[in-house]
C-alpha cells in the first residue's frame, strides 16, 4: 500500500478542530525553494541539520499522560506507564495488585472512563513550562497502551471518543502556539504492548480470555494502515517542532522493520517548504536517521559533538505514580546541576512530569520546575545558546565546575555555593583586563593569578544555594 497516497487523502478530508498553521497543501505549492526535498532514505535524511533552536534550547519538559495515570502505579519505584505490561505477568507484583485492588474482571480499558482530564488547563501547563524556563516540551500523544490523546482517524481508541472526549494534544499545541514561548513537540510510541494487529491481542490476564480493545478498528497492516497514518496525522494536523519516537522494540509479529523514513521525509519537507521554513528535530528511536541521541535516565559522561538529549524522571516513574513520596524525587539542586552538566557536554535536558488523570500537575513537580526556572532566570545567560568549551568540567575541588561559552562570555558554573576564594585552572580564557562577574550580583569581582591558578574572590552573599555562574568577558576576535 502506498502510504504517501493515503496521507494525501487524510489531509484532503481533514479535520474538524485541527490546528493547521501551515496547511500542507499550501506549503507544497511553494516548494521548490533553495534546497531539494528530503527523500525517504536514511542517506537523504542524514543531510538534515539539527535546528538552531534545539541546540540553543538546552531545556525541555517531557509529559507522560494517559490512561496509565489513572491506576498511577502499583507501588513505589514502579514505572506506572508500564502498568498494563506488568499486569500481564503473573510473576509481577502489579498482576496481584490489580486483582486485589480492582478485581480480576476489571480490565485495563475500564480505567479509560476515569481518565477525565476535567481540570486540564493547557494554557496553565504552558505557563508552568515558561516559568520553568523550558524552551520546548514533548507530550505523549500515544504511549505503549495504544490510547491516543488526539482524535485519530484510523482508530477509535482515542481521547476524542473515550475518556476525556477532548483533543488533549490539539489543545496543548494551540495553547503553546498562542503563547509563542515554548516549542511544542510530540512523543509517539511506534509499537504497543497489546494490539491484535501486532499479534498480541488484549486479554484478561486472570482468565486468559481474549477481550476487545476499546476503540480498536481492525487493520491488515499495523504499520502501513495505522502507525504511519498516525504519524502523518500528528505532522499534518499539529505541525510539531519535535517528534520523539519510542516503543520501537514492540514490533508487529514477524518483526518487520519500521518504515519511518517515509513520515520523517514528509515531516522535514513540510517544515522546509513553507513561506517561513522552520527547524524540526527527531530522536533516535525511529530505527533510522536521527538528529539527536537519547540518553534515557542517564547522561553522557563526556562532551559529544553529536547532539544528545538526557531524558530523566523526577521520581522513579514517567507516568504519575501516586505511591511516590517527596523523598523519591530528585532535589532541585540535583536537577540544576544536571542541567549545567548536560549543557557543558553538548546535551539537552528533557525533564519529565506526570500529570494526574484530571489534568492537574502534582505539586512537587511544579515546585521543582519553578525552582529550576528561578535559577535559569539568573543563570540562563550561561545555559541558553551556549556551547561547550574545549574542556567541559573540573572535578575534585570543593564544588564541581562546568564550563560553557556564549557570545562574548566564558562561563564558570560552580555546582554549589562556594565561599572565600574560587580557584580555577589558569588556562581559562582571561586577559589582564578581563572582568569577572557573578550572575545575579551587581559588581565585578576581584581576581588574581598565582600558583598556576586563577583565584576569584567570592562575595559573602551568593545569588543561589544551588549553583552559581562566574562569567568572564571574552571578546573573541
Amino acid at each position: 500500500m502506498n502510504v504517501s497516497r493515503r496521507r494525501f487523502l487524510t489531509t484532503a478530508t481533514a479535520l474538524g478542530s485541527a490546528v493547521l498553521l501551515a496547511p500542507p497543501g499550501a506549503a507544497r505549492a511553494i516548494s521548490g525553494g533553495s534546497t531539494p526535498d528530503y527523500a525517504p532514505t536514511k542517506a537523504s535524511l542524514d543531510t538534515h541539520p539539527v535546528p538552531r533552536w534545539y541546540k540553543d534550547a538546552k531545556f525541555g519538559i517531557f509529559v507522560h499522560w494517559g490512561v496509565y495515570s489513572v491506576p498511577a502505579g502499583s507501588g513505589r519505584q514502579m514505572a506506572s506507564e508500564w502498568y498494563l505490561w506488568y499486569q500481564s505477568f503473573e510473576t509481577e507484583p502489579t498482576w496481584k495488585y490489580h486483582r486485589d485492588t480492582y478485581g480480576q474482571d476489571f480490565l485495563y480499558d475500564d480505567f479509560i472512563p476515569r481518565f477525565t482530564a476535567e481540570h486540564y488547563d493547557p494554557d496553565a501547563w504552558v505557563r508552568l513550562f515558561e516559568q520553568a524556563g523550558a524552551e520546548y516540551f514533548a507530550l505523549t500523544s500515544k504511549h505503549h497502551d495504544g490510547f491516543a490523546l488526539w482524535p485519530s482517524e484510523v482508530t477509535d481508541r482515542h481521547a476524542g471518543k473515550y475518556g476525556p472526549k477532548r483533543d488533549l494534544v490539539g489543545e496543548l499545541m494551540t495553547a503553546a502556539r498562542r503563547r509563542g514561548t515554548v516549542r511544542p513537540g510530540l512523543y509517539y510510541s511506534l509499537g504497543e504492548f497489546f494490539n491484535p494487529a501486532i499479534g498480541r491481542p488484549m486479554k484478561n490476564f486472570y482468565t486468559g480470555a481474549q477481550v476487545p480493545m476499546t476503540g480498536y478498528r481492525p487493520v491488515d497492516d499495523y504499520s502501513g494502515d495505522y502507525e504511519l497514518q498516525q504519524l502523518y496525522e500528528l505532522v499534518d494536523r499539529y505541525d510539531p517542532e519535535l517528534l520523539w519516537a519510542d516503543g520501537q522494540w514492540f514490533r508487529p509479529a514477524g518483526e518487520p522493520p519500521w518504515r519511518s523514513e517515509e513520515p520523517l521525509a514528509h515531516y522535514y519537507n513540510q517544515a522546509k517548504n513553507r513561506p517561513r521554513p522552520k527547524g524540526v528535530v527527531v530522536n533516535d528511536r525511529f530505527d533510522t536517521h536521527y538528529d539527536f541521541a537519547t540518553y534515557e535516565q542517564r547522561t553522557n559522561p563526556t562532551m559529544d559533538p553529536q547532539k544528545w538529549e538526557c531524558c530523566i524522571t523526577m521520581g522513579y516513574s514517567w507516568g504519575y505514580n501516586r505511591f511516590e513520596v517527596e523523598e523519591d524525587y530528585k532535589t532541585s539542586e540535583f536537577l540544576v546541576h544536571l542541567l549545567a552538566d548536560v549543557t557543558s557536554k553538548n546535551g539537552n535536558l528533557l525533564l519529565n512530569i506526570g500529570p494526574k488523570p484530571d489534568g492537574t500537575i502534582p505539586d512537587v513537580m511544579q515546585r521543582r520546575l519553578r525552582d529550576i526556572g528561578a535559577w535559569l532566570k539568573v543563570n540562563g545567560a550561561a545555559i541558553y545558546g551556549s556551547t561547550p568549551w574545549v574542556r567541559a568540567e573540573e572535578e575534585g575541588g570543593a564544588h564541581g565546575i562546568r564550563y560553557t561559552v556564549s557570545p562574548g562570555k566564558f562561563n564558570i558554573i560552580v555546582l554549589g555555593a562556594p565561599s572565600g576564594t574560587l580557584s580555577v585552572p589558569a588556562d581559562i580564557p582571561l586577559s589582564a583586563t578581563s572582568r569577572i562577574r557573578l550572575l545575579g550580583h551587581d559588581r565585578p569581582l576581584k581576581w588574581a593569578r598565582s600558583d598556576g591558578k586563577v583565584h576569584i574572590s567570592v562575595p559573602g552573599t551568593l545569588p543561589s544555594e544551588l549553583a552559581n555562574t562566574f562569567t568572564v568577558d571574552w571578546e573573541r576576535r
Binding site: G385, V390, P407
Partner: protein, 304 residues
C-alpha cells in the same frame, strides 16, 4: 522576561551540519617526553559567517586556543600546534581540535574532532582499568564481569590477599594490588603495552578469567627489539578449580553474596634468561568486561 531565551524566529541559514574540522597527529604514535604536532583545518561549509571563532588544539586536558576572527562561508583555516608529550604520560591520550564560534547574537556553537593515541603503560598498575574487588558491605562498587559480580575483599584477605600483601605461589612471589575495594585493581588484557625492565627467566601473572576461558596471544619485547610471542588460556573463575593458585569460598553477585567458590590462577611465559626486557604486550582477550564475553583480568605480575 528573560532576554537570554531563544528568539523564536527561525533563520534556516543558521541550521547547518557541523562545519568539519580535521585533526592529524604527527607522529601518529608519539613517545613520552618527545614532540608531537597537532594540525587542524576548520572549513566553513555553512551559509553564514562564523564569528568570533576560536580553534583549540589540546592533548589530554590541556591545550592552546587561537582566535581566528570571522570565518566567511567557504573559507578554510589551518592551525598547527607543536607540543611535548609529558615524560610520565601513559595509556590512552585524547588529542582534540575544538572550534567554537558565534552564530547569532545570543548563540554560540562548536565543532570537534578527536584522535586518541595509546602510549605504553609505565607499569601494570597504570594499566589497571577494572574494579574487580568489593567489600562484603558495599557490593556495588566493583564489577568484574560486566554483570556486577566481584571478588570479596574479605575472602581475599582470609586467603592472604589483603591490599599490598606479598604472597608466593609455586615459588613465584607476587604483590597483590594495594588498592581499596572499588578502586581499579586489575588490567583487562586487551593488547595494551606495559613497560618492563630488567631481566629474568620467567614472566608470571596472577589473575583470572570471567565469562569463560581467557584465551589470547601476547608478546614480550626485549631491549634489542626482538619479540617473543606467547599464548595464554586461563580457566573461568567460577568454581573451585584444581589447578587454581587460590580458591575463595564465595563471591559477590548483583543480588548479594553467592556461596559458589571462585578461583585465581598463575600463568606465564619463559623468558630468554638474562636478556634485557623492554615491554610486554598483554594478550588480546577482550575489552571492557561485558556479560557473556570472556575477559582476562591480571592483578599482579612478576619477572624472576
Amino acid at each position: 522576561m528573560n532576554t537570554h531565551r531563544t528568539e523564536h524566529t527561525d533563520r534556516p541559514e543558521e541550521d547547518f551540519l557541523p562545519p568539519p574540522v580535521s585533526l592529524t597527529v604527527t607522529p601518529p604514535v608519539p613517545e613520552p617526553g618527545k614532540a608531537v604536532t597537532l594540525t587542524a583545518t576548520l572549513t566553513n561549509t555553512t551559509r553564514i559567517a562564523l564569528r568570533a571563532t576560536v580553534l583549540y588544539l589540546a592533548v589530554g586536558g590541556t591545550g592552546t586556543g587561537a582566535g581566528l576572527g570571522t570565518l566567511a562561508p567557504g573559507r578554510s583555516v589551518t592551525r598547527t600546534w607543536r607540543t611535548r608529550i609529558a615524560d610520565d604520560a601513559e595509556g590512552r591520550i585524547v588529542c582534540t581540535a575544538h572550534a567554537l564560534f558565534d552564530v547569532h547574537r545570543h548563540g554560540s556553537d562548536c565543532t570537534r574532532a578527536t584522535s586518541s593515541v595509546l602510549l605504553p603503560y609505565r607499569s601494570l598498575r597504570g594499566a589497571f582499568d577494572n574494579a574487580g574487588i568489593a567489600s562484603d558491605d558495599a557490593l556495588t562498587v566493583a564489577d568484574i564481569d560486566g554483570s556486577k559480580s566481584s571478588l570479596s575483599a574479605e575472602a581475599l584477605a582470609s586467603a592472604g590477599l589483603a591490599p599490598g600483601a606479598e604472597v608466593t605461589y609455586g615459588g613465584v612471589p607476587f604483590t597483590w594490588p594495594d588498592m581499596r575495594p572499588g578502586s581499579k585493581d586489575n588490567a583487562v588484557a586487551a593488547g595494551q603495552t606495559v613497560r618492563l625492565s630488567g631481566s629474568g627467566s620467567r614472566l608470571s601473572f596472577l589473575g583470572t578469567s570471567t565469562w569463560g576461558e581467557g584465551r589470547g596471544d601476547g608478546k614480550v619485547v626485549y631491549a634489542d627489539g626482538t619479540e617473543q610471542p606467547f599464548s595464554v588460556a586461563v580457566p573461568d573463575w567460577y568454581g573451585a578449580n584444581a589447578s587454581a593458585a587460590v580458591v575463595l569460598p564465595y563471591r559477590h553477585i548483583a543480588a548479594g553474596r553467592d556461596d559458589s567458590p571462585v578461583s585465581l590462577f598463575t600463568f606465564g611465559v619463559d623468558l630468554v634468561a638474562g636478556k634485557e626486557l623492554r615491554s610486554l604486550v598483554l594478550p588480546k582477550v577482550g575489552d571492557a568486561p561485558q556479560s557473556g564475553v570472556p575477559a582476562l583480568h591480571i592483578f599482579a605480575m612478576t619477572v624472576n
